[in-house]
Assembly symmetry: C2
Homo-oligomer: 335 residues x 2
DNA sequence: ACAACTTCGGACAGCGCTGACATTTTTGTT
DNA sequence: AACAAAAATGTCAGCGCTGTCCGAAGTTGT
């Protein structure tokens, strides 16, 4: 007697001496069942260790599940999992569960992964677009599955989206540097081709243009090779004949690199990162911060709203950023 | 024509002029289908935007899914997330997906959450036990669902488990401190009641006993109130009339606090943390490190093994830890 | 005592798919 | 050309559940 089989409604019904429909009523919550029978059913269910089969229930109910999918490029990025935590939190409030799928940051696998999720009949789809084209989701959207694009807008697809105030956040950071006299400001970004980085770069240039600096190319280190360490990018800026007096980073990977290189430098180089990180306070690193959980919560909320009102218009939400002054961004230029 | 309904096998079959079973064969991969019909079917499926319904497939196949659940206390802890990443990675190799559920670190909700997952007919259950008793899973285990306990052993339940070398890892850290002369060594831990912390505490005491130090109570700061900051615990150690010359922390929360307090202290106090963290290298913090993803990968592998051979014996796996010397743990005691 | 109503419980079909088995078509062999 | 073997396709039932419809009790008022 190893692997006996699982009890079904019918088994419970038989043991309790009622019809399976009555058992169904007990477990579905609603329905007219006398407390007497209800108790008998529950007791029988307990004896048999019965658990309702959600697969069957969902199939019967029209083939939708209580599951929302979140498609991520790479789980190891702490940013993503804060977002995931926000999503999970928000979904749990509505009794929904989150499945997590990753594409390994490979555009090719995105459609494959999403396809598999749709086969699972997920209730909604939240994704951080990696591929250049999400038009393959158009059909699904028309069938009523909410699609929310997170952190970057989807391409060739009408979908709700939640992004950060990338441009303005970075511009604010750079402005706070120009305000205290910096003019030669470096910008490091890797990978630089993606939406968020392009936006932040635009913000950087915009803020410098406001103080009359238009030739920024020499101070931009835009890479798209994960093997190029941010440390290297920072160092190459410092090695310039006329090195920057301040540096900003496009993401927390860049910040980590910058921190390692810029510590104990004389004269000190001002620095502001994008994305807050653990111990940034202990290291006195100024950053453009935001609430990544809020990003997730908002994404989930958009999906739920769309579920509640399928004909609602597409929404674009921007999550605010704010500059946190901790010291590294307040270092004035030398002399 | 807003929300039209989803195409089924039968719809595709009709359009392609074949039986639904043939369409099923095409999508199930296997089966003998002439390339001629296959193409016709695929074309029809594409026209109708058909996606096989996994709900129905799984129900028909005996009520199991391709889904493995990972039950976590709190998603915001980066440690858990790396574990989750490892699980996801390993499962993806076998075509399985991971659903993530959280219990908000509340013992009460554990059973509720697990129950819901079982109703979803997850293929296996990986969980970080929070409650004091996992006996409620016994029935499920007998039905053949692999249950793997992660980071802590399950209680009152025979289940595979993957834990860290907590005791030995901490003992190694303390030994490396006693080796360079430290005798007054502080230990901070919060929450201290949980298995991992108790083990690490045991390792700490063991290593001190080896050098004849048996009265350690005064140097132990064992709290179970999340509101007590690790900074406070560290400070209270430093305020002792005879303060410790070295401090070890039971988790990375403690490390973050210790880093903040111990920086720029004169004379310096040696420190070793448990759990590596971002920028620990930049801060020269020595830690007991391990690979959290490996923890997840191993857990997933155990579940898969059990799935392959349901009668296999229960396994307990320990993930090795290693002491990383970065400077903070190599500071000798004063004089 | 009887109609009118409410409450409780059951019979049945079918959600979309696939396993077992049956049937037709194709291919190979002599 | 005749036949067997192999390949391709079809038929049918049913996975576990619930929506719909219906019947059998119990309850109330006159």
């Amino acid at each position: 007697m190893t692997t006996q089989s699982r009890a079904t409604l019918a088994d419970v019904a038989m043991l309790a001496g009622v019809s399976s429909k009555t058992v169904s009523r007990v477990f579905a919550g609603a329905g007219n069942v006398s407390s007497d029978t209800r108790e008998r059913v529950l007791k029988a269910a307990k004896r048999l260790r019965f658990r309702p089969n959600n697969l069957a229930r969902n199939l019967r109910r029209g083939g939708v599940t209580n599951t929302v999918a979140f498609v991520i490029g790479d789980l190891k990025n702490p940013f993503y999992f804060h977002v995931a935590a926000g999503i999970e939190r928000e979904l749990a409030l509505r009794g929904l569960t989150m499945v997590l799928a990753t594409t390994d940051d490979s555009p090719d696998s995105e459609e494959r992964v999403v396809d598999a999720l749709i086969s699972q009949r997920v209730r909604a789809l939240l994704l951080i677009p990696i591929a250049d084209d999400q038009s393959y989701l158009e059909g699904e959207r028309q069938l009523g599955t909410p699609v929310v694009s997170v952190d970057r807008p989807a391409r060739n697809l009408v979908a709700d989206s939640v992004v950060l105030q990338n441009r303005q956040g970075m511009a604010d950071a750079v402005r706070s540097l120009t305000a205290i006299g910096h003019r030669r400001i470096g910008f490091i970004s890797n990978p630089s081709a993606m939406y968020t980085q392009r936006e932040r770069l635009a913000g950087y240039r915009e803020a410098l243009r406001e103080v009359g600096v238009t030739e920024t190319a020499q101070w931009e280190r835009l890479d798209d090779d994960p093997d190029i360490s941010p440390e290297l990018a920072v160092q190459s800026l410092l090695d310039l004949p006329d090195p920057p007096t301040a540096i900003v980073a496009g993401n927390n990977r860049g910040s980590a690199g910058a921190v390692r290189v810029l510590r104990n430098l004389e004269p000190p180089v001002a620095f502001i990162g994008f994305d807050d990180f653990e111990l940034a306070d202990a290291l006195d690193i100024s950053v453009v911060a935001y609430d990544p959980m809020e990003l997730g919560r908002t994404a989930a909320r958009l999906a739920l709203e769309h579920l509640a009102d399928p004909d609602s218009f597409t929404k674009q939400v921007e999550i605010p950023t704010r500059l946190i002054h901790r010291g590294s961004g307040e270092i004035p230029p030398p002399r």
